[in-house]
Chain length 370, copies 2
């Protein structure tokens, strides 16, 4: 069932999504940045549309022509864009990971008969699909999710490359993490409860609390849930130093009669050193521990590296292909649910769960059951 | 021999100097900041003068009334102020530790028949006096100086308090260090060649190259000389991280259409966390190793803490009292040398060397020979 699909945002993940979907569908990639569009158009059968996505009127004028929308825009504009898409009555898969609560748009989505799949990346995203699958089958005691995207080359002091803007990473590193303990939602400080985990080939990584449970805090009745970000040991220390010294503050500081927000300068300084090079090898690692009443602990492990042939980073692959798998579920009318639909709801349908895993496996993203 | 003495700058060290000298001399303390002057005047028999020291005409108008000048101004204005003092024909003791080469003012000082003692603190300062003393007596193979001023309370991430502006400390941490190896002046990167040293009571400190040899590179013919700064272990790592991430850069960065120098913001952010509280206990530690041809290694050790009675910090005591000892040498006409006179020249006179040590000992600053 070939569809007319509009992919909003042609960054690293958005362009991977557009490229992957162009195989089976008629895809238009929209971005403000013409350079990104030209790059995409030159390699894949993708139509392009230069568009100021954040301009509501301009966006709304375009949406009517498509069957399905993918929103791969930066987080800060994600909620606003999603609202416009829902208002236009179009089904949508969103990977912008905005901080607002998507369920605030649930009534709007229901009244417009829209299916809006949100947080549809790797984690959140694939992790929710896996958890939803088990949740539908059995009683679950606890869920722990560890996820990270890292470069193979460990350059001091950060040993890190950001597949997105440093300002988004800084935001992640300052936002308190909501986790679930004994059926209660508890807020932990950002970067808290570090622990070291050993992985084959990669060695030791450090995990710390991050605010990645999101919809799971509302949708699933599981007593204990946590989500942690994985980084090379040492990264957290550096980040804590910057935070404790005030470099992540978003309050104005007067420097020689000029107002500056330290976080803005920090983001600017880190931008170059955190920029992932086009041909820089990196990996995505995902470890999920699910404790069930009957079967004890079930673990899933995913390790993915950059695809040297296409140049797609593992972060773009794992995020983007989970998204495109779900776009295809929508295209094939396999998702009946309307309203805001976080990925855990999709996983509850065994057929759809298997569809997504097969789709990923065909792209050499192999989820290992430990 | 009571003298009319003008002390320029009433910061932590300047006010300690004025207070100490007011015992025997007629002292006037000058500063732009009236609050500092009032504090001083309320406790010690010191006259005060509200003065914009950096205004050359205003300064020159005042200098004529005094026999002797002490310059305890911030480093960035030190050289300019010293030049004005020399031009006015007044003997001077300087502890501003400016980065310019004082010997550029030697001809001016000689032609004005002025004795200008520069770098007259603890290290540089007392360390030079000690080295000069030995240099006059015997052949010296190497000189190593380790010095630091630290708070007893070790607060993360910096474990440090600056007795002066963070911008001066940042400058110290970025300026390459000139040391002497095999008779050759070699430039080492700032913060380089860290080593751990153990001290009684204090435990382990970390030493790294700093640019503190200054005049010694020119005045004394010693094959190997180095100067290192002492900090708590961990401090250097934090500083390196900030440096490597670009936070010490003095080049403009455009942040949201506004130009900012990262070092300016960093200095501003560190100012509060590095501020030494009025009643905060701190210490100054100085270790000197002198290797002589005949007698092998001779070591000196100095450990000084804040004086709870006067409230003078150890940094103000060790820097200020070395300075006032030398002011008294000048007042008693015991220094015959004219021109720029770094402290190593003073130490070469055994009587003056013993005078300084006795002066310090009377103030409970005890130099221990190991």
């Amino acid at each position: 069932m070939m569809k007319e699909i509009l992919v909003l945002g042609s960054g690293m993940v958005g362009s991977t999504i557009a490229a992957d979907l162009s195989d089976k569908h008629s895809v238009t990639a929209a971005d403000k940045d013409e350079y990104k569009l030209i790059k995409l158009k030159n390699t894949y059968p993708v139509k392009t549309l230069k568009l100021d996505i954040f301009n509501k009127q301009a966006l709304t004028n375009e949406l009517g022509d498509y069957d399905l929308i993918v929103s791969a825009v930066p987080g800060f504009m994600g909620y606003t864009i999603l609202k416009s898409i829902i208002e236009s009555g179009k089904d949508v898969v969103d990977i912008s990971f905005f901080v607002e609560d998507p369920f605030d748009l649930n009534d709007l989505a229901l009244s417009n008969n829209v299916t809006a799949v949100v947080d549809c990346g790797v984690a959140p995203g694939l992790s929710n699909i896996i958890l939803g699958y088990h949740y539908a089958k059995e009683k679950i005691r606890s869920f722990k999710c560890f996820v990270g995207g890292l470069p193979f080359a460990r350059v001091y002091p950060f040993q890190y490359k950001a597949p997105f803007s440093p300002s988004d990473v800084i935001e992640e590193y300052t936002r308190p993490a909501r986790i679930k303990e004994n059926n209660v939602i508890v807020t932990k400080p950002a970067l808290s409860q570090p622990e070291l985990l050993n992985f084959n080939k990669i060695g030791t990584l450090e995990a710390f609390n991050s605010d990645g449970l999101r919809s799971l805090l509302k949708t699933l009745d599981i007593p204990d849930m946590s989500e942690k970000t994985l980084r090379y040991p040492g990264h957290l220390d550096v980040i804590r130093i910057l935070r404790d010294a005030g470099f992540f503050s978003t309050e104005d500081v007067i420097v020689k009669d000029i107002k500056v927000k330290p976080a803005d300068l920090t983001s600017k300084l880190l931008f170059d050193s955190w920029k992932l090079g086009d041909d820089e090898d990196e990996f995505t690692i995902l470890l999920i521990n699910i404790e069930t009443e009957e079967r004890g602990e079930i673990s899933y492990f995913l390790f993915d590296v950059r695809d040297k042939q296409t140049g797609f980073s593992s972060m773009a692959r794992t995020t983007g292909f989970t998204c495109t798998a779900v776009v295809n579920l929508l295209a094939e009318e396999r998702i009946r649910r309307k309203g805001i639909c976080p990925p855990e709801y999709l996983g509850m349908d065994e057929g759809n769960y298997e569809y997504v895993l097969k789709y990923l496996a065909e792209r050499n993203i192999l989820l290992e059951k430990l």
